[in-house]
Symmetry: C2
Subunit: 498 residues, 2 copies
């Protein structure tokens, strides 16, 4: 085989994988937005066939031979192609190590699990979900051995979501955070809480939609390449760097909910839209890892979106969208309200400070499940004990406890830590950004272009061209979770006058 | 090969073809509804790859062998499977007779043609479109030879859209219609026109949306399986018999436009939703032909939707949606307004009577292009001459002339006659329906269930299980275009007091 011929085949393979993802994404988008209610079956049939075709395409022996051939010529490849081959070899090895029958069995299980989990959550009935969760845990332990038999199962899974991260790394990371967050939380508990009742006045959805348009404008999201839709749970979906969709969910009695969803998903969208053309339609398109993706969404949501300068910048306009609702509210009051710290039960509704404690509970439970020191049947008890210990709250039922998240039913074990890592990466990025330029002057005037440019330069543009750890290093320098802890301490000390 | 094994392969093949169509449909739906403006490129890349994969899948020699094997066992197959094999053999032969390079070249041309046509239409510049149209005509003449070398090219193309139909058949059909329609038109020209100015009052889009919901209810379209969206040009898209989408376009100054779009597309949707489960995920899913499909959409739109009993039934409710706009209008006035006959330039805006004349112009032009008696450069002149001759109108520019339709730029030559055939089929169905049951009593009470049941029984349920000609025979008996001419004559004689 000639090198040029092999590279042409490599490009063709990746374009096909892109086409299958695009088909999946379009069907998912449709299913969660405009599709009529009782149409899942036909979509399921199509998705199943396409997944099978994709699997057949990518797991073919010729693909392995092509990748091996190119790996052998590694010295002759430029960075773009050598990274492609590296990533594809990793995926190929992972896919082909899993026996085809186990792969299909697992696909069926995950499909079933989603349905069972929905029903179990609705009824708050963990026992209904337990047998499925047991199978999911067993499969993931087995698959972890296929991913990397040299690693402990949970380490192998963590590595899938954020390469280079393991239990040792996360134990230290979370220990640092806990040490700093828990005392802060106690100190806040002694202080008077700000009034945030005006956030729950009546905010008509039509006005909130217009407010979303304004927020997208402020974020610098080009509407010819980025659309906003409405779904039960907000998400970002990327077709390519010229076509990204975000969604939100409007609550008439809660203006902050959609507002921060839009800014959060907008952050994910900024990342995808900022990736360079060179990697499009290849395996390097898209954000490099979950942790880095969350660093971007949470950067816009919390570090910018929940900052006083940003709120001061947009508040006059907010008052135009909601003149009656915010008539007696100042920017300062709004700032304090959306930063109110309150230990609670639901992760997705948590404030910036307690959010990491929600993640730590999940990390502990997952780790023990994978290490084998916790049986699935004991998950609710451990969950509830940790919520009491970390957050000081009593979990009244499993619906608001260990059944609240969709991750495990989707087969994702090792994903949760990315959220906390993302927050910590973001804080370090902000520190470096402040060193490089005037961040807050422009932000206080509603100008986020400098912030966006910095992030595009340091993070977005690469897509998967660099390893996750290298992107982090590029934007953060040496990873240091105390920067995030310092940020939280300073913010909440000021806010609560500690 | 065992028969059972072959049948399993046959089912698998069809499920894959269904999955590719579903992916295409989802991307098309997205592209025409919510996708941001500048995102066509990435969708195009994915669609191109998926089309290539589908082509590779279906044109593989093993598929030909499988189909030949099953055809050899035809006697052992039930109707469901023998029809599948028959249809797939036809498609396979057609696909494999076209050389792969010509197939790809044509796909590129059609893709380009759409863009060129849009620009040419916008500018009313036929010369811009001419070179592309010349290539399209040449390709279609060549492809017609691959489809069926024993037929004249235009006959081979017509056969693709409505099997069994050829120039001889259509020449007679259109001659009958012209003979009857033209004198009617002249007689109407001598009469006073009804006032239809109230149709163009201000009808807010929000109220029209609610009216559409009501129309879907009246049509008996189950919203858990059928959604309505908004696009530039209305269409119906079927994923399967449990998932159909229709779209409309609202004009604030024209209440009839969207109203009759919804009823028309609703008729297409009724057809798709009424097809039996047995043929789903096979090549027999979906309506059997363009002509039969149009018979259903035009049945609901014209024979029911533009009838006095139907308008009398829905008019009280219409007045609730549009109380001010229709305050001084009676059901009778509305009925006369939406049946106003007026020779015009644009096919899609034509009334029920002159619509067929618009089709005849296109039929004549296509026929001459394919027979070779008309050069592409002379299309505008011929078009304009025929409009003058058939409809008595002067075409002021090509934008409102031969550039108005998207069919030719999409490569569809031989499609137009289906519209007129559908109208004629529908009139015969109505006559038979009236013989079988009381049509107008229930319709005048807003109850279309009997009409729908009759059509489901005679037409919808079969999908492609019967040949188009057999479906027509089943619902119409022996095809006789004078029934349609009689219907038109009676309707307009009454309306205009001829």
């Amino acid at each position: 085989m000639e090198l040029n011929e092999a590279l042409a085949k490599l490009a063709e393979l990746q374009k096909k994988l892109y086409a299958y993802s695009t088909a999946d994404a379009a069907l998912y988008l449709d299913g969660t937005t405009v599709a009529p209610k009782d149409t899942a079956e036909g979509r399921g049939v199509a998705l199943g066939v396409l997944a099978g075709e994709r699997h057949k395409l990518f797991s073919a022996p010729e693909v392995g031979e092509l990748l091996d051939f190119l790996w052998g010529q590694k010295e002759a490849l430029d960075q773009l192609h050598s990274r492609q081959v590296e990533e594809l070899r990793r995926s190929y090895a992972q896919l082909t190590r899993i026996p085809a029958d186990e792969y299909m069995e697992y696909a069926v299980l995950v499909n079933e699990a989603d349905d069972v989990w929905h029903r179990a959550k609705e009824r708050g009935d963990f026992e209904l979900f337990r047998p499925v969760l047991e199978k999911l845990v067993a499969f993931n332990i087995k698959f972890a051995g296929y991913y990397d038999p040299s690693k402990a199962p949970y380490d192998a899974l963590l590595n899938e979501y954020e390469r280079g991260v393991d239990m040792k790394y996360l134990d230290e990371f979370f220990a640092t955070l806990r040490e700093r967050i828990v005392p802060l939380l106690h100190a806040i508990g002694e202080k008077e809480q700000p009034d945030d009742s005006f956030l729950r006045r009546h905010y008509p959805i039509e006005a909130q939609r217009k407010f979303s348009d304004y927020l997208m404008e402020i974020l610098g999201l080009d509407r010819t390449h980025c659309a906003i839709g409405e779904t039960e749970h907000p998400y970002t979906l990327n077709f390519n760097n010229k076509d990204v969709r975000i969604t939100t969910h409007y609550h008439e009695d809660d203006v902050g909910n959609s507002m921060y969803s839009v800014i959060h998903e907008g952050g994910h969208a900024k990342y995808e839209l900022g990736i360079r053309d060179e990697v499009q339609y290849t395996c390097l398109a898209g954000g490099v890892s979950m942790g880095v993706h969350e660093s971007q969404s949470r950067f816009y949501e919390n570090l910018i979106g929940r900052s006083l300068p940003f709120i001061q910048a947009i508040f006059p306009k907010m008052k135009e969208f909601f003149p009656e609702q915010l008539a007696d509210v100042t920017a300062g009051q709004f700032y304090r309200a959306v930063n109110k710290v309150q230990p609670s039960l639901i992760r997705t509704e948590a404030d910036e400070l307690t959010y990491c404690l929600h993640i730590m509970v999940r990390y502990e439970v997952e780790k023990q499940l994978m290490v084998g020191t916790l049986a699935v049947k004991d998950v609710p008890e451990t969950w509830n004990r940790l919520y009491k210990e970390y957050l000081g709250v009593d979990v009244p039922d499993d619906k608001r406890g260990c059944l609240q998240d969709s991750h495990w039913s989707g087969g994702a074990f090792g994903y949760f830590p990315s959220y906390a890592l993302g927050s910590a990466y973001g804080a370090q990025m902000l520190k470096n950004m402040e060193r490089d330029m005037d961040v807050w002057g422009p932000v206080s005037r509603g100008d986020l272009s400098g912030v966006s440019e910095w992030l595009k330069e340091k993070v977005h543009q690469y897509g998967g061209l660099l390893e996750p750890a290298d992107v982090v290093k590029n934007a953060c320098g040496q990873f240091d979770p105390t920067v995030f802890a310092d940020y939280l301490e300073q913010k909440y000390t000021e806010l609560y006058g500690l």
